[in-house]
Symmetry: C2
Subunit: 210 residues, 2 copies
DNA sequence: TTTTGAGTTAAACGTATGTTTCAAACAGTT
DNA sequence: AACTGTTTGAAACATACGTTTAACTCAAAA
């Protein structure tokens, strides 16, 4: 075995480059060059570029998924029959995200970018993958949100959920550019935590509208 | 001149295909084939693929831009010194969008997709283009929002504005897929107008949060 | 020691892409 | 009718891409 596993070297490089330039715009040659690995390694270890993209996605998804699940399990065991508020639910999700992307903040951006891609690429492989892998967590969170917003019609709740997802996906995936604008226009720096601190109240108020 | 101008035939085809498959995934050959036009026509009339993408963008941007400007002008002449509410502002923008994309609803999706792309493609050409072209309208709308939300700190207002933008960009650009999910999961069809009808209250409540 | 098999390497393959070329067709003007 | 500038057409070009191949490395098993 080399200093660091070839597979994770590829994943690390791919993650950074996907976040910077997108997926179609990032070539395997660029990835393997940054990873200091032979070009053929991607196809050897992952099978194809598509599979690599999925693997990059999975590296977030799986721990994030488990994190939310277990923290919800713990909470429900300690506080059974309590109804979580929207803020509570968002905090659970945000905390899981933070812990998964800890130490490397651009990972959040690429996760969100993948999410956006998964949604608006019609026949894309990512969407199917996400849908099968994520379904049970999605349902569980959706059920919690339903309990927190009992007055909402199911269809409108569905849309509002995706409005929330959109805010998060858009702003967090282009966080770097937006922070640059803030620094230029307002002469102020924003940490990621501050942005999330701005985001959650916005989302909560939005889903509770009217 | 042919039946329809070659330039607009290309723009029409590019618009549809970009909306379906994204930009990098759509080749000039696919575009020119659908437009029933020679491959070289794109480079002859637009210069490059990048320039074509910008041209597709500009075909929305320019009329949309003018529409918002003039309708705001008219309103300010008729009702000087009135402070528009957030809902009013959003309605102005939404009405301008509707009138620009009238008759062809998928244009909204590609517009939003381009917007998202412009934001999270760091060094992308779209971003610069948008920034220079849009700046004055952006400032004007921002000033109106500032008057409608006097209690908000400028930086937080900036972020909330982009949270709104994110909701709109994300949901409207993946509208087709989301409507398919709604139809599958809830056995209901949603028109674009209904979705916008759901969206605006969400945004208004979000920006007014706390 | 030999064998095995996973991992790596350099090179090549086939293909799809954006772009360019240059001759032909065309429309408008003189 | 001849000329002129613009637009189209078929073909080729150069390149970048994802992928495959086959030779090679090298540690662990037999």
């Amino acid at each position: 075995m080399a200093q660091v596993d070839t597979v994770t070297r590829i994943l690390d490089a791919a993650e950074e480059l996907f976040a910077e330039h997108g997926f179609a715009e990032t070539s395997l040659r660029t990835i393997t060059a940054r990873a200091d690995v032979n070009l053929a390694a991607v196809n050897y270890h992952f099978g194809s570029k598509k599979a690599l993209i999925q693997a990059v996605f999975a590296r977030f998804l799986t721990p994030f998924y488990k994190m939310v699940e277990t923290s919800l399990d713990v909470h429900e065991k300690n506080h059974p029959d309590t109804i979580l508020s929207i803020e509570d639910i968002l905090r659970f999700v945000a905390r899981a995200m933070a812990s998964v992307t800890e130490g490397d903040r651009s990972r959040l951006a690429i996760f969100m970018r993948l999410l956006g891609l998964a949604y608006n690429q019609g026949q894309g492989h990512l969407r199917k993958y996400l849908q099968t892998e994520y379904r049970s967590l999605f349902r569980r969170v959706m059920a919690l949100i339903a309990k927190a917003t009992p007055d909402l019609q199911p269809v409108e709740r569905f849309w509002r959920f995706h409005f929330m997802l959109g805010s998060a996906a858009f702003t967090l995936s282009s966080m770097e550019n937006l922070r640059a604008i803030v620094e230029h226009d307002f002469d102020t720096k924003c940490t990621e935590e501050e942005v999330v601190g701005y985001l959650l109240p916005f989302l909560a108020a939005g889903i509770r509208a009217k």
